[in-house]
């Protein structure tokens, strides 16, 4: 029967896995960010806690048009074809600017695997 020590073991394992995951994400965050001269339709990440209105205003100040909001208030999809969009967004406080990946209806949880719509 599991004891308190077993639950602590499970939590430590979770903490280790989460820590390694965060390091990998940090590396990917740097690698996936677009160079300052990039333009087009991009995903822009503002600091956590930035509201939708504030994010949209910062995007507009960089000369970008809003394409869509996302389920995070500090993450927007914006567009502008003038070169240097990524750099201008970073000047307005963006933490990172990324390629706008289109993702079809997929599910992350469950038994059967990725589902498609």
């Amino acid at each position: 029967m599991p004891e308190a020590a077993d639950h602590r073991f499970a939590l430590k394992l979770l903490a280790w896995i989460s820590g390694i995951w965060l390091v990998i994400l940090g590396v990917l965050f740097e690698a996936a960010a677009l160079p300052p001269e990039a333009s087009g339709t991009v995903i822009v990440l503002f600091p956590p806690g930035t509201g939708t209105a504030e994010s949209v205003a910062a995007g507009a100040a960089a000369g970008a048009k809003l394409v869509s909001a996302t389920w995070f208030e500090n993450v927007l999809v914006v567009t502008d074809e003038t070169p240097g969009l990524a750099g201008r967004l970073e000047e307005q406080g963006a933490l990172g600017v990324f390629e706008n990946l289109r993702i079809a209806g997929i599910s992350f949880a469950g038994c059967i695997g990725a589902s498609l719509r």
Partner: protein, 399 residues
């Protein structure tokens, strides 16, 4: 068992294999749009490759289990990981539909059969003391669920940074750590007492003549039906009520978070309480949650509450189901016998997806399938109730 292979190391090894195997598999959907854009395939072509993958996984699981029971879990895990990685990497080079189905479909599906949580659970049955098995199964199941979340942004990051072809090769490389980790799970069945003379065929015959095994197979079919139907058709169902797409994304997040908690809790409970009663309660709980969801006006709150509740009941069926197989027939042929139970799960999953699509096309609504899901939940609870929760030989003597 060598001295370095402590129970903690075995559990960590099993958790890592579950996490990587399940995690990478959850990323394949991310490749749909970029692959179709480059190759010019139809959605059906890509969907068929993933459907073949799931079918191969289900069909391959009993075979991989039988090989693990006979020649050892470690070899099957290593072979599975190699095939899994090769299928993913070669998928990056597939230029036609046939090559795609061979690589991301057949090779990765069969690779998953070998490098899967279910082989890990069989190894736990042989390597860990009985009082630790259910708890360890809960950890491996929870790790698999967690992997699907952790790998989602990693897969997305790979694609964003280096494009989909390099991303597939990197994911294949991410599968390779399963190989050294598998050494912690090396195990071959050590026949004891009554199992000594039993062949693989005899074990299958014994199981097929045992009523409780069939009841377990019938019950796990329902698990597959529920999860696949909800997973595939829930986004469209939500969208039909005019809710924002972000609600669907949060719903998936809630299912995954609570799934991790539910799987671990089920492992702990399966070690303390009656496994069949736990399963009956889980399936009855699913029926009640689905019924409430269908009867309640759909809103953001109702979707999120439903997702959290279903998440708790999602993979929580795995530790008690695998535990019952081990209890009935012992650990010697557990991987194969649980593989057969899992095949039933995959058939249920196939029907859940198909029936949902059929109902929507023909009837214009999912209502009928929601109520079928409620009925199946009650049915599954009912079939678990009479399961004889003791070794099959004792149950036969007592009959």
């Amino acid at each position: 068992m060598s001295r370095f292979r402590t129970p903690a190391l075995i559990v960590i090894g099993g958790a890592i294999i579950s996490l990587i195997g399940y995690g990478i598999r959850g990323d394949f959907g991310l490749f749909q749009e970029p692959m179709l854009g480059t190759r010019g395939w139809s959605r059906e072509t890509f969907a068929l490759a993933l459907a073949v993958q799931n079918l191969m996984w289900g069909l391959g699981q009993p075979i991989a289990g039988a090989i693990a029971d006979r020649y050892g879990s470690g070899r099957v895990l290593v072979g599975g990981a190699l095939l899994y990685a090769a299928g993913i990497a070669l998928g990056a080079m597939a230029e036609g539909p046939v090559a795609l189905h061979l690589t991301l479909g057949i090779m990765t599906g069969l690779g998953l059969s070998g490098a899967s949580m279910f082989i890990v659970l069989g190894a736990f049955g042989r390597l860990l003391p009985p009082e630790r098995r259910a708890w360890a199964s809960g950890i491996a199941t929870a790790a698999g669920s967690l992997g699907q979340f952790l790998f989602a942004p990693i897969g997305q990051g790979f694609i964003a940074a280096w494009g989909w072809q390099v991303a597939l090769v990197l994911l294949a490389a991410a599968a390779l750590p399963m190989i050294p980790v598998a050494f912690a799970l090396r195990s071959r069945s050590e026949p004891v007492a009554a199992e000594a003379q039993q062949s693989l065929g005899a074990a299958l015959r014994e199981a097929s003549a045992h009523r409780s095994y069939w009841l377990l197979i019938a019950g796990f079919f329902v698990c597959g039906f529920h999860l696949a139907f909800i997973q595939v058709h829930m986004p469209a169902y939500i969208a039909g009520f005019g809710l924002n797409a972000s609600v669907g994304a949060w719903a998936i997040g809630f299912v995954g978070l609570f799934n991790t908690i539910g799987a671990y809790a089920a492992g702990v409970l399966a070690g303390r309480r009656s496994k069949k009663n736990l399963l009956a309660a889980i399936y009855l709980g699913r029926a009640a949650v689905i019924a409430l969801f269908v009867l309640t006006p759909v809103s953001t709150a109702s979707v999120l509450i439903f997702s959290a509740a279903m998440g708790l009941l999602w993979l929580s069926t795995v530790p008690p189901t695998s535990g019952l197989v081990a209890l009935m027939f012992g650990p010697r042929y557990m991987s194969m016998l649980f593989g057969v139970v899992f095949l039933s799960h995959q058939i249920g999953a196939f029907l859940g997806v198909w029936l949902g699509g059929w109902a929507y096309d023909v009837l214009g609504s999912y209502t009928l399938v929601w109520w079928i899901s409620v009925g199946l939940g009650v049915f599954s609870a009912a079939v678990h109730w009479p399961i004889a929760e003791r070794p099959a030989r004792l149950a036969a003597q007592g009959a």
